[in-house]
């Protein structure tokens, strides 16, 4: 029992951590780009992305399931009911969140910083570097929120992962099946682990955020 809990916990961390990392690598540069620009196309793109911000995880899971299932367009990759497929689904859920917050943070910082840096003689590149430095703490908050969404997410990973014992079981999906099987003590234990895990990661990111502040 203890062995499976460790395995489930590690897989949860691996899937949520990887999807947050992939989402961060995509969303932070793109969000910075969008936040720094006030052109019409970027505004339209931002509106679309903010709509995706509220994408229900179950719907994301369904989309990824249709994509990755055997008859689907990406079925040949064989990713359905695998941890990699779960990463794909979670990345789809987390990316708009990190992207939306990063865009807002950079855009709001940009307005305040731009004029001060401008009148102090900063060129375009120096201005962008200054904005990114000022926005760093807010961007870390975006990553924290993204990880929180990933680790607590259940709908998408359930559909795409299938909750296969010893293969695609994660903390959230196991809690649900435990409750269905009246294994409430096991479910509570996993819930506590989930809570501690989330708190630990938040604490580490918070410390990192503090280091970016003066």
């Amino acid at each position: 029992m203890a062995g499976d809990i460790v395995g489930i916990t590690l897989l949860s961390l691996l899937i949520s951590g990887t999807s947050t990392l992939v989402a961060t690598l995509v969303a932070v540069p793109l969000g910075t780009f969008l936040g720094l620009r006030e052109i019409g196309s970027a505004r339209l793109l931002r509106t679309i992305l903010f709509t995706l911000y509220g994408l229900p995880p179950v719907l994301a899971g369904l989309l990824v399931y249709l994509l990755l299932s055997r008859p689907g367009p990406l079925g040949f990759l064989g990713l359905i009911y695998t941890p990699l497929g779960m990463v794909f689904a979670q990345t789809l859920v987390v990316t708009p969140i990190i992207l939306g917050i990063t865009t807002s943070v950079v855009a709001s910082v940009e307005r305040r910083v731009k004029e001060t840096a401008f009148v102090l003689g900063a060129d375009a590149r120096q201005l962008q570097v200054t904005v990114i430095k000022e926005a760093a703490a807010g961007v870390l908050t975006a990553v924290m929120v993204g990880f929180g969404r990933a680790i607590s997410e259940v709908g998408a990973v359930f559909i795409v992962g299938g909750h296969i014992e010893g293969k695609t079981q994660v903390l959230t999906t196991t809690i649900i099946t435990d409750i269905q099987q009246a294994q409430n003590e096991h479910a509570v234990a996993l819930g506590v682990i989930l809570l501690v895990l989330g708190g630990l990661v938040y604490y580490l990111l918070y410390r990192l955020q503090e280091r970016t502040l003066p």
Partner: protein
């Protein structure tokens, strides 16, 4: 002022509201010039137009007798000769030394950038 400034027929509107209309001014190097007016009169808009923070709708601004160059490096050089203190100043994250030296660091060659080490700040 370390340069002469000539403003002719400066105009600026925001959403149909005319803020500046036909503003003329001539400032000589070393001259102290005050712009006085009630709140909303357009004092800040005038300064922003002169300092490249706002693009005027009409009129001209000449710096040492010449209009601002279109070439970005030349414009940057001119821009760096103009200072402006905002009504509500913004402080960057970091030390007092970083904030005080930001302008100098912006203008310094890359090899000399970085906050002053012996500033005592």
């Amino acid at each position: 002022m370390t340069m002469s400034l000539e403003v002719g027929g400066l105009a600026k509107s925001f959403g149909g509201r005319e803020v500046l209309r036909g503003i003329d001014a001539r400032l000589s190097p070393g001259e102290i010039f005050s712009i006085v007016g009630p709140s909303g009169a357009g004092k800040t808009t005038f300064l922003r137009c002169v300092g490249f923070l706002t693009t005027p709708d009409g009129g001209s601004v000449r710096y040492d007798g010449a209009v601002a160059p279109a070439d970005p490096p030349a414009l940057l050089t001119l821009r760096r000769r103009i200072g402006m203190v905002a009504q509500n100043p913004f402080l960057f994250r970091g030390t007092v030394a970083f904030n005080v030296s930001y302008g100098l660091m912006s203008m310094a060659p890359p090899s000399t950038s970085g906050p002053p080490r012996r500033s005592g700040l």
